[in-house]
């Protein structure tokens, strides 16, 4: 019995640990997460932090990028001030755990939307609209002379572990019956360091990420993207399934940025458009969108003029794109699939009604 008594504390401690792991249940009409954010006075946004164009820390310590602007837009929609946000740098393996545990409120970190990540039986995320339609690509040094995937037979390829990229690579190479060696690293830094160190003849990731990382290489011109696109990579902000009201708020702030571009509302003219909408009662669509009338904001738990606040902070979707990854940036990516639907792209906001 004394022997047993000595071991008694063990299950108690283990039990306490297990109980500690249990997440807080509970979801209601009123978003618990949104109340928590408002109470805290700031939004905590999970980003990559090391990917030029999407989320990158500049020399002055401030974050910038397309993903960062989504964080800012949501923050501005809640608080009216895009500065009330705190960023957490997450690697691809940490991101879902950080979101599920509530360490971050919103994950805006070039994350591909997939079935298993969305499903309640999988990662249980709730995705906002796609903010960047991407595809997986492969980058090789120009000097290697490699121009196709089949030329990579038997060669080591660097890839970040815990990404869809890792699986797509395995799928495509199996399809093509090309044997290869995947070298997996935990962080993007290690992956690109091994590639630049010459351990791999190729590195694979989303094409936008490759283009972004390349701008930081010692000699960007010496690296080329293969023409092959291995997969669809719709990159979208995400929240957890457990709080649908918070997910709705994030979803519609994101749509608002897209709708603003469609309506030609920019950071520069948004104030004038509000004045015009207030003066003209006939522009019902615009008045509802800008929160002059109706209660869209209230339905989402946000201020009535959340669209105005978001657009004044970061501009519309087109402005965000051009500033961070488009013609106004070192990445110089084409809009491509990321054009408005009216111009043949996939950016399409449902009606604000």
């Amino acid at each position: 019995m004394r022997r047993l008594a000595r071991w008694l504390p063990v299950p108690v401690m283990a039990g306490a640990l297990l109980a500690g792991c249990a997440p807080d249940g509970g979801s209601g009409v009123q978003s618990a997460k949104l109340s928590a954010i408002q109470g805290r006075g700031k939004l905590i946004c999970g980003v990559d932090g090391k990917l030029p164009g999407f989320s990158f820390v500049g020399p002055d310590g401030t974050y910038s990028g397309l993903d960062v602007d989504v964080c800012k837009a949501v923050t501005a929609a809640i608080f009216g001030d895009p500065k009330k946000v705190e960023y957490r740098d997450l690697n691809s393996s940490e991101r879902f755990a950080a979101l599920a545990s509530g360490e971050v409120d919103l994950l805006s970190r070039n994350t591909t939307m997939t079935l298993s990540r969305d499903a309640a039986g999988g990662n249980g995320l709730s995705f906002a609209p796609t903010t960047f339609y991407d595809g997986q690509g492969v980058m090789t040094p120009k000097s290697s002379g490699i121009t196709s995937l089949t030329a990579l037979a038997g060669k080591p390829i660097c890839v970040e572990s815990g990404t869809t990229t890792e699986l797509n690579l395995a799928d495509r190479m199996r399809e093509l019956n090309v044997p290869y060696t995947p070298l997996k690293f935990q962080t993007g830094d290690q992956t690109y360091a091994a590639y630049l160190g010459g351990r791999c003849v190729a590195v694979t990731s989303d094409r936008s990420q490759l283009a972004g990382k390349r701008t930081n290489f010692p000699n960007p011109a010496e690296h080329v993207l293969l023409p092959d696109v291995l997969s669809k990579e719709p990159l979208a902000p995400a929240t957890v399934n457990a709080d649908p009201a918070w997910a709705d708020a994030v979803r519609w702030v994101t749509y608002a940025l897209m709708q603003a571009e469609e309506l030609g509302i920019t950071k520069a003219n948004v104030a004038d458009r509000v004045t015009a909408a207030k003066a003209n009662t006939n522009q019902a669509d615009l008045r509802r969108f800008l929160g002059v009338e109706g209660e869209f904001g209230k339905q989402l738990g946000l201020p009535a003029d959340f669209v105005v606040k978001a657009v004044s902070a970061v501009g519309n979707y087109g402005e965000i794109f051009e500033r961070n990854v488009g013609s106004g940036s070192p990445l110089k990516l084409e809009r491509g699939l990321n054009r408005q639907w009216t111009q043949g792209g996939l950016i399409y906001s449902p009606p604000f009604r």
Partner: protein, 336 residues
């Protein structure tokens, strides 16, 4: 049983009631405490299950049988992406064990040599050994691994420029070792600018192994030094008065006696080494942790994957402890 039988003495000194019985009382208390404890555990487990099912995370193991869908860079067992997750985890476990076993052998040999060298009569060697030990045991293992991989092994040249030693070729594409091949003993050979050899280690494995061996051997050297220092000076003097040289004294007289002190100390260093292999992911080696992490990301089964990881590392470490305890009993003085 005169006490329990009712009789004339019973009225003066009544038998103790069952709850006053000194024999049953401790059992009763233990029983109540045990019951409360069980209730507490049941409550905690119930709480866990309720919250996990609310979050859709109830423990399930069915995913283990589904195809993994990812590839591994090196494996002693045959593996392809259409094999199930459990096979991938086994591949990772085997790779981990491979690093553990090779690391144990390497660090024991190197550590023992270094520990012995600190009793050398050569002052320069003794100083060098101190520097080796202090440098290697005071720098974190992760830093050392990253150094060996990114700074040393990734700056090796490829092809004809590779570092060629007798029977060993060090190249960026891997370490090529001579060994028994199809036509007898084979040396590494260069065919069309690519090295071929009977035995090839990836630079990831080589970097992990080098880092582990160098780091842990510094600790083992200190354990060995302590063990040798515990052997009374008279043993050395007696051996040299018999005309034995330093090496023979060390090998036949001192080391066997020092083992009694060394073996218990080695145990924790071996366990440190086994745990240290989980840093392999920093240098791209496919160990158990690396496979488990990919599995976790693809399946979202965090609790299950971590339970597997915890169990596996616990089993490896307890296994090492069991072997070392057996060895300890073997080398101890038997008192007759």
């Amino acid at each position: 049983m005169p006490v329990s039988t009712p009789g004339p003495g019973a009225a003066a000194n009544p038998p103790p009631r069952w709850w006053q019985n000194r024999r049953t009382l401790p059992w009763l208390v233990q029983g109540i405490v045990g019951l409360l404890l069980l209730l507490l555990i049941a409550f905690l487990l119930g709480n866990l299950v309720r919250n996990l099912s609310a979050a859709g995370l109830l423990l399930t193991w069915r995913w283990l049988g589904q195809p993994a869908g990812f590839d591994v860079s090196e494996s002693l067992l045959p593996f392809s992406p259409d094999l199930p997750y459990w096979r991938a985890l086994v591949v990772g476990l085997v790779n981990t064990l491979r690093a553990v076993i090779a690391g144990l052998i390497g660090s024991t040999l190197l550590g023992t040599l270094v520990g012995m060298a600190s009793f050398s009569s050569n002052a320069l060697l003794r100083r060098l050994v101190r520097v080796y030990v202090e440098v290697n045991r005071n720098i974190p293992l992760l830093l050392q691994l990253v150094f060996w991989y990114f700074v040393v092994f990734l700056s090796l040249p490829n092809g004809t420029a590779a570092v060629q030693l007798p029977g060993v070729v060090l190249a960026k594409s891997g370490l090529y070792l001579a060994g028994p091949g199809s036509g007898g003993w084979e040396l590494p050979s260069l065919i069309n600018g690519v090295w071929h050899a009977p035995l090839r280690l990836s630079v990831e494995f080589a970097a992990l192994l080098t880092g582990l061996i160098v780091h842990i051997s510094a600790f083992i050297a200190e354990v060995v030094r302590g063990g040798i220092a515990s052997v009374p000076r008279g043993q050395w003097e007696a051996a040299s008065s018999l005309g034995l040289h330093w090496w023979n004294t060390m090998r036949r007289i001192v080391l066997p006696q020092a083992l009694r002190v060394i073996v218990p100390g080695l145990n924790s260093q071996y366990i440190n080494l086994a745990k240290g292999t989980s840093l392999a992911i920093a240098v791209g080696y496919t160990d158990l942790y690396s496979v488990a992490e990919t599995t976790l990301n693809q399946t979202g089964r965090a609790i299950e994957v971590y339970l597997i990881l915890l169990t596996a590392y616990l089993a490896i470490d307890l296994g090492i402890s069991a072997v070392m305890n057996g060895l300890n009993r073997f080398v101890q003085l038997r008192e007759r």
